[in-house]
Amino acid sequence: MAKRIDVSGLTAYYGSHKAIDDISMTVEPRSVTAFIGPSGCGKSTFLRTLNRMHEVTPGGRVEGKVLLDDENLYAKDVDPVAVRRTVGMVFQRPNPFPTMSIFDNVAAGLRLNGTYKKNQLAEIVERSLRGANLWNEVKDRLNKPGSGLSGGQQQRLCIARAIAVEPDVLLMDEPCSALDPISTLAIEDLIGELKERFTIVIVTHNMQQAARVSDRTAFFNLSAVGQPGKLIEIDDTERIFANPSVQATEDYISGRFG
């Protein structure tokens, strides 16, 4: 069930280093929001605060609020493990569990949750693999290791693994940057389908990709190296690419950055 994300006044640190400063934004359910911006401006950091993965890094610390519908993820009594079960994540480099079969990879999240009936498992795995457009390629070798697939297939396997648990939100950090153009297109199509059911946030360095897949685009920037990253603007993707309201955004998009 897709949920709305409502971030207010979010600041994140690595030890004493402030990586992102005072970010507020709203992400609507069943939409795709793209994060763009120069390297080091804190896109990954911000994305990882949305499922409380940031604090896994030694020294990682967060101030501010992230509301998922009406629940603050950073409220005192919230268990980060529970948050990560409802906010799924796909990483830049495909990272299927190397020691698990394709089937077990997809089933891993379900087995953690324990919220399924035994006889449903195969069905959910198939549905997730179909949802990730991978079923036809792997249906004959579900018991083979997931690390034996191609990079693009591995990434779709990771997407299948993430959607198998029916998360409220799906976060993707440059999911196509290690992939060839055909696998990239396959995943972009997939994102278009997945937004019917999930709230999707995707980090990308590829402007065309942001323009193709997203409904809204957020531009992040930093004033100088070592300074914290800031949200410059967030708007409808068409507006950002055609007629942004901030000059820095236009410079970045048209390649006149720096």
Binding site: F91, F97, P98, T99, M100, L112, S147, G151
Partner: protein
């Protein structure tokens, strides 16, 4: 993933470059090649000489043995006719090593996980250092400590085991005497091999790529679930290798066993009964007073220990190789 770049055709070389690489090897290369090849051959020759010598002497002893060398529970090469066999030694060696492994491997994995994944840095670093130090303690120290401290202490444990677990047969105590038995030896060996297994597995656990752990974390895994899903599977072959290192040490341990065990040439499934022996302990105990034929007999027993070690290592390699496609090496 990046095969596209590696399979693309190499840029054409300048012709003179091919000339130099195809030409005469430089003197430095030739000298180094000669030296490394010579060293390799030298090593092989020495090893072959040792193996040949040992096999020859062992052959002399076994051919004159009046009893079955593998199944006899007696050691009397000086008798007429000579009667000796390794049954007790093989049994004692295997049993004490199995006890040591059963105790040491799980504990070592636990300590290694604690150091690598649970303990805060300021506890983990000194703890790792202490374990490193323990691995360097000479075995005679462990042996003396075992004989002076552990044996009296284990007397109590032995009575307790006998009372409550005596029905399992192995913990039934049929004779009197202090705890100078195979069970104590097993525990002492476990303590001795614990540091080395801990060190190696800890290193392996620290090598687990962050992305594998984050894969589990992002699915909502607890710390223990991350360890189960990512750390242990990744470290599996490392755990096996570390255990083999420890097992090698346990199988061949001499002084500590010799100091603690009160040996006898009886096979008993009651682990708490005093007696038994191991290959290394038997050699150490008998070598000095043996005549030349007696030494040949001891050498023959040593060869058997060597074969056992080889078989165990081969089995471990086979286990590692069987799961190779799942090892993550091709991820």
């Amino acid at each position: 993933m990046d095969t596209a770049t590696t399979t693309s055709a190499p840029p054409p070389r300048a012709p003179q470059q091919t000339g130099t690489t195809r030409g005469k090897p430089r003197p430095g290369d030739r000298i180094f090649l000669g030296m490394s090849r010579g060293a390799g051959i030298f090593l092989l020759v020495i090893m072959a000489a040792i193996a040949g010598f040992l096999t020859y002497r062992a052959g002399i002893a076994i051919s004159k043995d009046d009893a079955n060398f593998l199944t006899t529970s007696e050691w009397n090469p000086a008798g007429d006719p000579p009667v000796f066999g390794i049954a007790v030694l093989a049994f004692g060696t295997v049993v004490s090593s199995v006890i040591a492994m059963v105790i040491a491997v799980p504990v070592a994995i636990g300590i290694a996980l604690f150091i690598s994944h649970y303990a805060p840095r300021r506890i983990a670093t000194p703890l790792a250092y202490v374990v490193d130090l323990l691995a360097a303690v000479p075995s005679i120290i462990y042996g003396l400590w075992g004989a002076i401290f552990l044996v009296p202490y284990l007397d109590g444990l032995n009575s307790w085991l006998n009372e409550y677990l005596g029905w399992t047969y192995i913990f039934e105590k049929t004779g009197e005497g202090v705890a100078r038995n195979l069970f104590t030896v097993g525990i002492l060996l476990a303590i001795m091999i614990l540091p080395i297994i801990t060190n190696v597995t800890r290193e392996v656990f620290l090598q687990v790529p962050k992305m594998h752990e984050e894969a589990a974390l992002a699915l909502g895994a607890t710390r223990w679930e991350v360890i189960r899903m990512s750390v242990l599977p990744f470290g599996r072959s490392g755990i096996i290798s570390a255990s083999m290192l420890g097992l090698g040490r346990a199988l061949g341990e001499t002084m500590a066993v010799a100091v603690v065990l009160s040996p006898s040439f009886v096979i008993s499934g009651h682990l708490l009964d005093p007696g038994g022996g191991t290959f290394a302990q038997n050699i150490a105990a008998k070598f000095n007073e043996a005549d030349e034929f007696g030494r040949d007999a001891l050498i023959a027993s040593g060869l058997v220990l060597f074969v056992i070690t080889l078989v165990v290592n081969g089995a471990a390699r086979a286990i590692i190789a069987r799961r190779k496609e799942y090892s993550g090496a091709n991820a």
